[in-house]
Amino acid sequence: MDLVKWDNPAPKDLWEAFDGLRGELDRALDPFRIPSAAGLLDRTTAPAVDVLETKDEYVVMADLPGVDKRDLEVSVTGSLLSIRGDKKGERDSEKRKIFRKETWVGSFSRTIDLPAQIDTGKITAELKDGVLAVRIAKREEAKTKLIAITTE
């Protein structure tokens, strides 16, 4: 039995190597860095999250592969959005041999402080293909309004 991970070829040009080095330094020196949820060495038990502000709403997207809808809880308290859940794995059997395990199982939670002008009455959450999308509407007074310019 041999399932070998494909090995990345060496960087083709010198600049690419410098690019990686700079990124590494940036990451090492950034006190607010948020680790990625994927990967073996930089793995954390917190899902990767995007927060996007559009004209009318805030969209929070979280990568939650393998998380069942029933094991997921999304709540809002004031301006704090909390995503917590439990990622369940396969039941371990004694006969099962594990060759590689880069994925994690267990409980996780992530709390995001959203700007105050959210309308907690207008929130929708959808889980599709392992990605959670939470849409939170902005309050009417927080939306950008266009002011018509009149000429005399």
Partner: protein, 116 residues
């Protein structure tokens, strides 16, 4: 795993995976959140089993307050050895996890030799 190249594009990420074997059945699980069935490709070329998938991160345009999800494409290549049956690979995608089930060839399974 995540690095921008010179043109500012995100490179292809290697998804996290797990490999286990139980009674001649090899299970490979690859985490690819946000990848729909249509955007997934599983290929066998010689001894290489490659799995690749694309996803669109956000449908809407806007201003990012937090941006941790960066991989737009995933690719992982496994090397299959001769003990794995090529014809009998089962693939299923559910909740962002691709599960590949492969069988070990009968000839490669351990055999018990009875003492006469």
């Amino acid at each position: 795993m995540e690095a921008k190249d010179m043109s500012g594009k995100w490179r292809i990420a290697i998804p996290a995976c797990s490999i286990s074997e139980d009674a001649g059945l090899v299970t490979v699980k690859v985490e690819m959140p946000g990848v729909a069935k249509e955007a997934l490709e599983i290929k066998i070329e010689g001894n290489e089993l490659s799995v690749s998938g694309n996803r669109s991160l956000n449908a809407q345009r806007g201003h990012y307050i937090l941006n941790e999800r960066r991989a737009e494409a995933f690719r992982k290549i496994f090397t299959l050895d001769d003990t794995i049956s090529r014809d009998d690979i089962d693939a299923a995608l559910a909740d962002g996890i691709l599960t590949l089930k492969m069988k070990i060839k009968e000839a490669a399974k351990p055999r018990r030799v009875e003492i006469a």
